[in-house]
């Protein structure tokens, strides 16, 4: 079976400084993949390479078996919440409509169907009733929900999110991940996060990136199996130091 994302022996560097080395990864959109790791470890760089915003130095990245830029209409990207342009004159509804850009006619305005989809997606992320608000009047968490609605409006098969909760309080973060978890029933979720808890509680696959990549599987059946066997388990220490942890967990015995 073809993987939705296939990365083989990927290398990348910024101005001669090596950022990613020999990355290999397979991903299928039924999974909730969390990319974690320290600041400057190359998480966002890897994400940008998956969607074709950056090109690898060596190695290959295949999205649905093709060059990422050729299938960019099949995926959606939710950027970090960094709106420097504080007064940007745009309504929530117009932001979500942007998701319909590649589906609608080039010169024509957005169609009725586009509007219907935009309303539907706002409802789906719990932002119904905010259509005519200025985007910058929203809180960080609400704004991220709008960006997720925009991503959903793209009809994407995989949604990529870059630190979507960086500016949100803890309760807001939990809501957000619960929403993503629900969405994961129909679309693939690939998320960059520095938060280990996310990886433990919501992800089914965790990629620890710090120049090199270490992949943890935390799918339901397996985590049960892991719990049965103290030598085969996943624990927070593993996630942080990016290698198999061999110590004995008393609580599992």
């Amino acid at each position: 079976m073809q993987n939705d994302i296939e990365i083989n022996n990927l290398f990348f560097s910024y101005d001669g400084t090596s950022v990613l080395e020999d990355i290999t990864l397979q991903y299928n959109s039924k999974d909730f993949l969390a990319i974690i790791g320290p600041n400057g470890g190359g998480k966002s760089t890897l994400l940008k390479m998956m969607i074709g915003l950056l090109k690898p130095l060596h190695g290959e990245v295949l999205l649905f078996g093709k060059n990422p830029l050729h299938v960019s209409h099949e995926i959606a990207y939710v950027p970090q919440d960094t709106i420097a342009n504080k007064d940007f004159p745009i309504k929530v509804l117009d932001v979500v409509l942007m998701g319909r850009l590649s589906k609608s006619k080039f010169f024509a305005p957005y169609s009725k169907e586009d509007y219907a989809i935009a309303y539907e997606m706002l409802d789906k992320v719990g932002m119904k009733g905010f259509e005519n608000q200025k985007i910058n009047a929203l809180s960080g968490g609400q704004r991220q929900r709008v960006f997720i609605a925009r991503a959903l409006a793209c009809d994407a098969k995989i949604i990529f999110l870059d630190e979507p909760t960086a500016s949100i309080d803890t309760a807001g973060q939990m809501n957000m991940f619960q929403l993503l978890k629900t969405l994961n029933k129909t679309v693939g979720i690939v998320i960059v996060s520095h938060d280990v808890n996310v990886a433990l509680n919501y992800a089914t696959k965790v990629a620890h990136v710090n120049k090199t990549l270490y992949l943890h599987d935390v799918s339901k059946e397996e985590s049960f199996a892991l719990a049965q066997n103290p030598k085969e388990h996943i624990c927070p220490i593993e996630l942080i130091c990016a290698r198999r942890c061999n110590h004995l967990h008393k609580e599992l015995l």
Binding site: L53, I90, M98
Partner: protein
Amino acid sequence: MIDLFAFDFMQNALFASVLVSVICGVIGTLIVINRMVFIAGGIAHGSYGGIGLALYFGIAPMLGASLFALFLGLVIAYITHQNSTRIDSLIGVIWAFGMALGIVMTDLTPGYNVDLMSYLFGAILSVSNEDIYGMSGVFVLVLAFALLFYKQLLAMSFDAQFAKLRGVNITLLYFGLVLMTALGVIIVIRAVGLILVIALLTIPPYIAEKMTNSMGSMMLISSLLSVLFCVIGLIISSFFNLSAGASIIMIGSISFFIQFLYSKWRT
């Protein structure tokens, strides 16, 4: 006051004001939300080189300025699109180079007798019919650009990376925007001069931005504000015998300060 607008030159000035105002409203809005004010400034001042070259080679100064501005626009679009570091310094160099070239070329032109002041401070009271044709042409181009690519321009201004992933050709659209800016700047120079062009491009959109939540209505409101500034400025300038361009900008600046203080007072 009705008498005032009975004069032909006043009617021309009024008509030119409306054309210039709409161009300013549309292009100025795009410049402000894309944070390209410094780029517009570089093109405006750099285009002085085109005036110098035109005088030296004996072609129409505004034509020279337009061609040179388009050339500078291409250079600046290339530099900024490459995302190279120190973009502001590079634009600063182009800004100064254009002005220096203009001065040197006029020095070299034997017995120059053109009123350079009109390019520095504008001459809206002496716009000719040819000027009106030129302005109308740019007016149509700018409106067509903004209407046809409205969705794409909005998406690029708000989130260029997302727009790119949705299949918008960011490179082409950005070059188009900078070239439209160059054309717009040249037209506005005719009205208020290259020293003051930035004010008319930024003040109306800045005020309008606070009053609306859509790019289209921001363009509309800034166009209306700009018409208002131009008409009031023209009337005041003829009553008190002041420079038209500077009067227009004074009205705009005073409105800006009032709006600024009002919004500070309200919060």
